[in-house]
């Protein structure tokens, strides 16, 4: 007997209530983020932003500008490379210091050393601190201490990425098979031996692959830091943006996209090479040496290119400069008006991150369908390209454009976050859809359900937890980005920080940086809890 179609949607009531609840919550949040869809459609605004985007063509291509652009590209490459190298120097000891895999006491009867766990905790706290402060904040501070240019960016990258690498390195070391290391420690071997012969051989591919991935991120970060005056393409972009020179902005964006694509390809190549089957071992060793040599050559030339004078960076004079400058940050101010300002700034930043993430998730969900190949190969190629484009342009660069489109304020920041995050989430959502087992949806289709319902009740429930987890992860990243959006006029804590730094009220600035740190930690916590509850 054919099943009769039930016009009632069995899950409708629950979903409707859920949607209403979300909307009820979204209203005040949208208010704080000054969401104003009308501004987006206002013809006057469309004319300004449209006019600016229209002026992108023709691309600027006079020889003088191209010369500037070439130097900026090289400088950005150099900043990312040297920054990542220094970050590795910071991360390796921190990771070794904080991994539990090398704990003698965890293995069995060990010499009593109460201080060792304490040291591990201290190193972990330092790591947390380093990666908790966005590189852009470090860059802004170092631009003041070292002046304009790449040194500030390199140092900022080194600190934040040092913290990030250290955390992931420690996690990798913790997760590889500890057997060999434990055996060496138990047999009375030294920690160094346990690390080098017990842990590293299993962890190296993952460590290298993650470092390469970080280098790729560093390229994007190097561009963004230029927007606060730390050299490279970002600084050039800032100048062209301020002069409203669309052709130049477009040329820089094009160069940047090409650079990111090239870096992406290179890092894929390297990672695939790392995963090559062991029978090609001999070949791998030879090409490994060639690659290492080439890498060393690139690093040396990068180093020379930005003329990073480590002596000047770490010399006695620089030391006292940093000490003097950073010393003024303490103690953090905590008067009532300031705390009020911080509270409203935090709320605005939180709202910006929420609105940005939710908008991005909605857009990404819509785009994920064609991107997963559900609407034909042509649409798949087009949406994939669009998603890559959205993802390749950093949030802060989007913000400089959205500020023109909807005006200064948090809404511009939320839109910028949404655009970039939609590129990231769209791709992840599509991949989840492609990897989901097709059985449920196919069963619904064969029993006569229309495509839309088969998707809603067959495919969506299967990918929903994964989509949600990705979205929550991105929210953790977006709260950090929302905190610095204010540097380009998008409100929130970033604007307050820039203001206090401009007025040399460094105690106030310190309090705001602490608030940023706290907010990021709170969101991390909330997101982890939500994921745990939903998982």
């Amino acid at each position: 007997m054919l099943l009769s179609r039930d016009s009632r949607d069995p899950a409708a009531a629950g979903r409707l209530i859920g949607c209403m609840l979300v909307l009820a919550l979204a209203w005040p949040i949208g208010k704080v983020a000054q969401v104003d869809p009308a501004a987006l459609l206002d013809p006057a605004n469309l004319k300004v932003a449209g006019g600016f985007v229209a002026s992108f063509w023709p691309l600027a291509h006079d020889t003088f500008f191209l010369g500037l652009l070439r130097d900026a590209v090289l400088q950005t490459l150099a900043i990312a490379t040297v920054g990542t190298l220094l970050a590795l120097l910071i991360a390796i000891p921190l990771a070794v210091g904080s991994t539990a895999a090398l704990s003698v006491s965890a293995i069995g009867p060990a010499p009593r050393a109460i201080w060792r766990p304490a040291v591990r905790q201290a190193v972990k706290a330092l790591t947390l601190f380093l990666r908790g402060i966005p590189e852009l904040v470090w860059a802004l501070l170092f631009v003041r201490v070292f002046g304009l240019g790449p040194s500030a960016a390199v140092l900022a990258l080194a600190l934040t990425y040092g913290g990030m690498l250290a955390k992931v390195f420690a996690e990798i070391l913790d997760s590889v098979d500890r057997g060999p290391a434990r055996a060496i420690l138990a047999a009375g071997g030294s920690r160094t031996a346990a690390l080098v012969y017990g842990l590293l051989p299993n962890a190296v591919p993952e460590l290298v692959s993650y470092s390469i991935y970080r280098w790729e991120c560093a390229l994007r970060a190097a561009v963004v830091m230029g927007l606060v005056g730390a050299g490279g393409m970002g600084q050039l972009m800032d100048q062209s943006m301020k002069a409203f020179n669309g052709g130049e902005v477009a040329s820089i964006l094009t160069a940047f996209l090409l650079l990111v694509l090239a870096a992406d390809a290179l890092s894929n190549l390297l990672r695939r090479w790392m995963d090559a089957p062991p029978d090609a071992l001999h070949k791998r060793i030879v090409s490994g040496w060639v690659l290492a040599l080439a890498g060393a050559l690139v690093c040396v030339s990068a180093w020379r290119m930005i003329g990073l004078d480590l002596g000047a960076l770490f010399g006695a004079h620089a030391g006292s400069d940093i000490a003097r400058f950073l010393g003024e940050f303490l103690p953090p101010a905590h008067d009532l008006p300031l705390l009020g300002k911080i509270a409203s700034g935090s709320l605005e930043t939180l709202a910006t991150s929420l609105v940005g993430t939710v908008l991005a998730a909605c857009l990404a969900a819509v785009l994920a369908l064609p991107a997963a190949g559900r609407c034909g190969a042509v649409l798949k190629a087009i949406t994939r390209f669009a998603l890559n484009l959205l993802r390749a342009v950093p949030e802060l660069v989007w913000a400089t454009i959205t500020v023109l489109a909807v005006g200064l304020g948090p809404f511009a920041g939320a839109l910028a976050l949404a655009l970039h995050t939609c590129g990231v989430l769209g791709r992840l959502y599509a991949e989840a859809l492609e990897n989901a087992p097709p059985a449920g949806e196919a069963a619904l289709r064969t029993s006569g359900a229309p495509r839309s319902l088969a998707f809603l009740y067959g495919a969506l429930p299967q990918v929903a937890p994964q989509w949600l987890a990705y979205t929550l992860y991105r929210w953790e990243i977006n709260i950090r980005m929302a905190a610095v959006m204010g540097f380009v006029g998008a409100g929130g804590l970033g604007q307050a920080l820039y203001y206090e730094l401009s007025l040399f009220r460094l105690g106030n600035a310190c309090a705001i940086i602490l608030a940023m740190l706290l907010l990021a930690l709170l969101v991390d916590h909330a997101s982890a809890m939500l994921r745990w509850r939903l998982g």
Partner: protein, 289 residues
């Protein structure tokens, strides 16, 4: 008030300490490093500086280089950290530099134009006719460190009984004078304020739609921009620099281009006292600690 006394006492102490140390042992300078606050685009600043740099090189007999900086406060910090020797500062950035160098930074010269500087309040909203009409509107300043784009307009707004953070719907910082005009023209800010000289320049160049954007208020005059050297520079060099500026004469064809680029008719000596009113305004507006 207590703060005020304490700061004076501190400054006195600092002066004493300096006097005690002032057995002049100026390291032989090999190069004069110069910078400027980025009130215009950095490329424009470098273009403007080129002929002046050449002229100074000849007059003081040592190489002169320009250090570009994109951030107002960055220039102040560079002067305090002795990474540059001389800077083109605005009135407020000079006061900041003075405080951050314990009162040792020396203002040398300024343009006659800088002795009577003003800011213009602009809007594209027909309903805004006076400062009082700004209540509840979106307002754009320039850079937080700008004298003519933030400090003095804020001071006069306060005098008119308006507290920006309380009375405006949104307070935004566009970052630069020309950006403020762009935001007001596009209606993204209901009103804004900028440097009178940049406004005039933009109007002359036809870069503003004056049918739409209009000036509805101009501030009373105040002292603005000057050339400042750090306090521990060799006094002989400082004197040479000052003399070189004062010698500039628009009637001299060799100086004409240089002065046109600096938009100066004549340079005159200046002194810290000229900026007392700016410092008081900054105190009153709560922009100094």
């Amino acid at each position: 008030m207590l703060n005020h006394f304490r700061r004076h006492a501190l400054r006195g102490l600092a002066a004493l300490a300096l006097a005690a140390l002032a057995t002049p042992s100026f390291a032989q300078m090999k190069e004069l490093k110069v910078s400027a606050i980025p009130d215009e685009s950095p490329t424009e600043l470098q273009r403007k500086f080129a002929p002046l740099g050449k002229y100074l090189e000849k007059e003081i007999g040592m190489p002169v280089s320009f250090v570009p900086v994109t951030d107002y406060a960055g220039v102040v910090e560079a002067l305090a950290a002795k990474r540059i020797d001389m800077a083109w500062l605005g009135g407020f950035t000079y006061v900041q530099a003075k405080l951050r160098t314990a009162g040792t930074a020396i203002p040398l010269v300024q343009r006659v134009e800088d002795e009577k500087f003003t800011s213009r309040f602009i809007t594209a909203d027909p309903a805004i006719k006076s400062l009082a009409d700004l209540k509840g509107k979106t307002f754009a300043f320039g850079s937080p460190s700008s004298t003519s784009g933030h400090l003095m307009p804020r001071y006069y707004l306060l005098q008119a009984g308006l507290t920006p953070e309380k009375d405006f719907k949104t307070v935004a910082f566009s970052g630069a004078h020309d950006a403020t005009v762009a935001f007001v023209q596009s209606g993204r800010a209901d009103a804004g304020v900028l440097n009178a000289s940049v406004w005039d320049k933009l109007v002359e160049a036809g870069k503003v739609d004056t049918a739409k954007v209009r000036v509805f208020n101009t501030t009373p005059p105040y002292f603005d921009y000057n050339w400042t050297v750090r306090g521990d520079i060799d006094p002989a060099v400082a004197k040479k620099i000052r003399d070189a500026f004062l010698k500039l004469d628009p009637a001299n064809p060799e100086h004409k281009e240089l002065m046109a680029l600096q938009r100066a008719t004549r340079f005159v000596p200046t002194k810290p006292e000229n900026y007392q009113s700016i410092e008081q305004a900054a105190q009153a507006a709560g922009l100094l600690r």
